[in-house]
Symmetry: C2
Subunit: 189 residues, 2 copies
DNA sequence: GAAGGCATGTAAATCGTTACATGATTTA
DNA sequence: TAAATCATGTAACGATTTACATGCCTTC
């Protein structure tokens, strides 16, 4: 059994959660995993076809009204593939591409003013993600599933923390202090 | 002026910092920006050629011993392009792909045991990044530039915080409690 | 009747990793 | 003399985004 490609992983999981059309999967991704796992139609639809060809899902046309619609469900092989992935002990992949941080890395080439703005942009970015998560929070809390809510809290913890961290750098900079933040207060004894 | 592609952004900045060969740039990336901005030879060398063709950098062959070596520097246009990017007010891009979090998202389909292991994997991932950063920490602290050190501290703050967060989830799970972590103690009043 | 949501898809371009290929110099 | 490090590159593949194209249904 081939290892599932990245898009296949979300798809199988989302179908298991009852999201059974490409559109439906995309809609849920956009309000739930987007901040740590995005997906576009350009990936989703071709991958749904491939998964069907490989026998991990089956689809049937089920128009609702005159609107065409293809509804998928997991096959036994699909269930197994999903479970094997979830239970696998392979070190899970983790990739971050943070342009704001890269700018700060090159901060020695910036003026004081430019720097402050770059720091502000980082603070705002994390505040923005936090605010977006807080908006979907009540909705996620009331779902029948429990773990999507946990990942939302993980996102909240991360982005709130980083927003606060950058806010502190911003303040030190504003006071003309060295931006080198000492270790996190919680970490110090 | 075309906007710089992602790889061009690191390259120009790194050349500005005095890293003047493809190999040299890659070496620094691997011990400094890798945890938030990676780059491979497969991107670097072709992009160096493109940047030279576009007149943002100039290269000259400067063998050291019998070893061939192409040394680059920024042109005026390159300086300007770098600076324009650094000073631009465009919202910086931020992308995360976290497989471990995705597994947790589907945690309702896992057994208690599988779940604990997935949570542990997340904790370990962040601990691992933290440990790697701590190893390069003394080296980064003593550099003549100040801001690379700040990005290292940002990474430390983030990964230490997330390691602690997952550790707490792990403990709650071990005690058979609901994994839903309440708001961060610092955030509560 | 217009706007917004439901629904599916493709093409092109871009971006990125991995594996391969090569060879010199330095250090243990 | 073997291993590590310096050094440059390409080809194939895989992953992802963006823009385009289409059309029905529901609600205002």
């Amino acid at each position: 059994m081939q290892t599932l490609n990245p898009t296949a992983r979300v798809i199988l999981g989302m179908i298991k959660l009852g999201r059974n059309t490409g559109y439906d999967i995309k809609s849920l991704v956009d309000v739930s995993t987007r901040h740590f796992w995005a997906a576009s139609y350009g990936q989703l639809y071709p991958e749904l076809k491939r998964l069907e060809q490989d026998g991990l899902i089956t689809g049937r046309d089920e128009p609702s009204g005159g609107r065409r619609r293809r509804v998928y469900e997991l096959t036994e092989d699909g269930e197994r593939a999903l479970h094997d992935w979830l239970a696998s002990d392979e070190k899970p992949s983790y990739e971050l591409r943070d342009e704001g941080l890269l700018k700060i890395f090159f901060g020695d080439s910036m003026s004081a003013d430019e720097l402050v703005r770059a720091v502000q942009a980082n603070r705002r970015l994390h505040e923005g993600v936090g605010a977006a998560l807080r908006e979907i929070e009540p909705h996620a809390r009331d779902a029948e599933t429990r773990f999507p809510y946990l990942t939302l809290q993980a996102g909240l913890a991360e982005h709130d923390h980083m927003a606060a961290w950058w806010r502190e750098v911003e303040e030190r900079l504003a006071r003309g202090e060295d931006p080198h933040v000492p270790a996190d207060p919680k970490e110090q004894q």
